[in-house]
Structures are given as C-alpha cells and as structure tokens.
Amino acid sequence: MTMLGDRQQLAYIAAQAADARVNVELETEGMTLNIGPQHPATHGTLRIIARLDGEQVVWAEPSAGYMHRGYEKLTEVRTFPQVTALVNRIDWLGSFANEVPFILAAEKLMGVEAPSRAQHIRTILFELSRIANVSLFLGDLGVQLGAITPVFFAFRDREYVLNLIEAATGGRFHPNFDRIGGLKDDLPAGFIDETRVVMKKLRTFCDQIEDLLFGNEIFQARTRGIGVIPKDVALSYGLSGANLRASGVDWDLRRDQDIPMAWNKTEFKVITHPDGDSFARCWVRLQEVRESTKIVDQLLDTIPAGPVMAKVPKIIKVPEGEAWVSTENPLGEMGYYVVSQGDQGPFRVKIRSASFNNISIVPWLLKGVYVPDIITILASLYFILGDIDR
C-alpha cells in the first residue's frame, strides 16, 4: 500500500490551480458535452452533462432516471415472496445480495430467524455474488481505461461463479433463492468441492488483474491522485462500501454489525486505503475479492448440518411494525426500510441503494478534472444503473 504523499497531493492541487489561472487568461466560450445516456462508459444509461473548457470540466451533473422502474411503488402491490423476485433486479450483477437485507428485515418483523445452515449458505451465496459483481468491475475498469483484455478475463472467471450460483439457485442473475425463514432449497451435491476449485481460479484471476492492470504504470498514472474524496466528504454524502473504505474509513457492515449471517464466524480483513483517489477505490475492490474468496473457503469448511428452513406459515403475513436492515453489498451499504401493516405485502419499502448515494458525489468530484478523468472517476466509483434508479 503506497500513501499518496502530501507533496503529491499539493502538486496535484497546484497543477489544477495553474490550469484554472490559464483558463481565466484565455477565456473562451465553453462547450457542453453530453455523455450518455447511450455511451460505452456508463454501463447502463447514466447521462452526464459536462460543461467543458477545452478538455477540462467546469461543471458536471449526472442525470439519472433513464432506467427508473419504480420498485418502491411496485413493492406496495406485491406480497413479500414476490418482492424478493423483484429486488433481485436492483443491482443485477450481485443480485443475491439484494435479497438478503430485505428478507432479514421481514424476518426481523416476524421475529423468525433462519437456521444456521441457511445463514451459512446465505453468506456463501452473498459472497459469491460479491465476487461475481466486483470481478466484472475489475474487467470493466480496464475497458474504461482503454485496456481491452481484462474484461475478457473477468467474463471468463465470473462465468465460473455464475455457474455455481446457477447450480445452487437455478438462476444465473436473478436467484430468488431467499425465503422468509431460510432458503428455498439446500445446496446440490458437489457444490462445496466445485466452489473450492473456483475460488482458487478467482485468486489467480486477481493476480492476473493485478499484474495486467494495477501494476501497470499507465494505469497508476491515470488513477493516482485523481478524484480524491476526503473522509468527511465521503461520510456526509453517505458514500459506502469500497468508496468509503478507500477514503480511509475503516467501516464494514459485515464485521461491525450484528445480524444473523455467518460473517462473524469467519476471519477476514477489512481493506482500507488512506488515499481516497480512484486508484484506492479500485485497489480496495480488488483486495476485497481476494478476502471474499477466503471468506467463502472458511464458510465451506464450517457449514453446519441441519434444515435450511425455519417453521413459517405457508401464507406469510408480516406483523405490524417497521424495520431497517442493511448489509455490506458489493456496491456498498444496501438497506431496506420496511413498513408493514400486518398485510401479506409491505406497506412501504424504502430501498436505500448504495449507488444512489455513491453517485451523488459526482458533481462535487468532477469539477476541474479532464474529460478522460470523468471516465476513470465514474469507473472507480462503480455504480450500477439499476442500483441508482431502482
């Protein structure tokens, strides 16, 4: 881990200030560049309106909403089991992880708790979806920066993880495997052995990406000192996940929170980085994939025997009340505030998705950067459109 020295930071600020001075002297009419909604760098349909002065951004504003599906409204006309199928689609790359906080919130309201085998399997699948999600990020990062090879490695190795998720749940992208009180089914035979093999492959993948991308001097030149988010700014914007930890905030809901999942039975490191720049964010994610593979390995060793479903009535009516549960999802803190009025379906669900907060810092962050840095910063913030727009 290399610290970005004060001198480097000062140099960066001084360079920006010098650019600004030059711009004042040679003032010309700016240009408005419309990045998106159809643009290769916005994985999805995010639109960025940037006011440029030459290649420098004077002002930029993301405009979301091209994929707003109104999930909060839709949950109000659905029953609790139906909502699980819906929230899968919020962060579609790590979809199993979306189900978990919602189910936990419903379980909290009902006062049931999943059996420990179910908690274990939930955690395994949760970490697998984190790996599937973030490994694609690592590949995609290359594409955003102009390296075309990493993304193919990412797709190759993510495929193994998706196969595992599909073998266990039946759905590659939308597992819909979590039920209130446990899981739909137990793991199929052979899952544990296969997972161990895949975890090894993914650690190799991480090494490859590290050699191919993170060690590359050009990559470092493009990302170090770019898009620095200080700690307090990150907190007040409500950033979460790797974006927050890359700003030096040592906070991981997997470790710091007491929820009925199996993380507290494993040993893992919470990765932080003091710099807060684009490189730090990417680097933290890479290390988190490694940690996740280790978590999965440990959980596979300790998986207890028993049922995967607690006793719950067939027709689920959730008692009146309000509950908030959030977990450390691949993109950051994802939480559901569920209000129930004793019906079969929720009365109101507030979905607190990570990307919505993570991307709201963009106008602050993009001031004064160059056009290519827009892409780097957006890539390193790592958002998923479904997670912004919901």
Partner: protein, 165 residues
C-alpha cells in the same frame, strides 16, 4: 511488495503472452455456441413445464404470479366414481393454461406454490421467437417441455432430507 522490481507494463505483457500460449496449447475457455453447447445445471430455470394431468386448475399459480403472466381457464366436469356405486365426482378440467414468456420473469414462484406438482422447471433455454406473440406457450407446448425436466439433484452433505417439492 519487496519482490524484485519488474516494471508493471512488462508483467502485463507477460500475462497476455502466457494466456496466448495457454490458449494455443489447451484451447480457449469459450464454447463455439451453436456447434457445441454447455448443459445448464439441473436446477437451471429455463422454461416451465406443465404436467397437465396433475393440474386441478386451482388458480394458485395464477394468483401468486407477480407478473400476471399465467392464464388458466377451466370448467367442472362429472367424472365416473372411484368405487363402484359411489357418487359421480366433480373434477376441474383444464381448458387453457398459457404462460406468457414475454412477461415471465422466471422467479419460480408458480412452480413453488403448486400444491399438486403440476409445474416443473426445465433447463431448456432455446425457445426464442422472432415474434413476441409466439412466446405465449399454451398447454400443449408447455406439456412438451415435460420431457426435458430432469430429476431433482442430490443434496450436499449435511442437508436435511425433506419431502419432494
């Protein structure tokens, strides 16, 4: 990172070159799709198959479908009594069972709620159509998928056996 300092660019070049050699030697990790196919896992949710004989048109699947994509119509019929001398039974006869795959989001709730084991998942996935209306599978087409339904997989060690469902 106290390893001997190799410039990062050369490491990257090494990775790509190693992959080049590995691909030349062991073949690619990809599959030439229409010529060779990977079999999806047993649980894969490809298409829903209907065992018509088991269906009692109880409407549970229709009512629990979040997308409203299942349509059932049925009528009651008199069936011959089970035991000789008994009264004629009233049974539900299925007239129509359609699943609109253009709407279906493959959540599997219908398969799960079916109390009579009439719906099954099949891992078959090649049924795309050029016209969206053709994605509405009627009961004869859904019945054909029954041939592709696999046996449920063995469970992992430590699992509690439970009733087939």
């Amino acid at each position: 990172m106290a390893k001997p300092k190799v410039p990062g660019m050369f490491k990257g070049l090494g990775v790509t070159f190693a992959t080049l050699l590995a691909t030349a030697k062991n073949g690619a990790d990809t599959v030439q799709y229409p010529h060779e196919k990977e079999t999806p896992p047993i649980r894969a949710r490809g298409v829903i198959a209907l065992h018509e004989g088991n269906c009692t048109s109880c409407m549970l699947c229709v009512r629990s479908c979040p997308d409203w994509c299942i349509y059932i119509e049925g009528h009651k019929e008199l069936a011959p009594p089970r035991r000789a001398g008994g009264a004629a039974r009233k049974v539900n006869k299925l007239d129509r069972f359609d699943i609109d795959y253009a709407l279906c989001m493959y959540c599997g709730i219908c398969v799960e709620v079916c109390p009579f084991d009439a719906l099954f998942w099949s891992p078959e996935y090649e049924y795309s159509e050029t016209r969206i209306a053709d994605l509405l599978h009627d009961k004869s087409k859904l019945g054909e998928w029954m041939q592709t339904v696999p046996e449920a997989p063995e469970l992992e060690a430590g699992a509690e056996k439970k009733g087939k469902k």
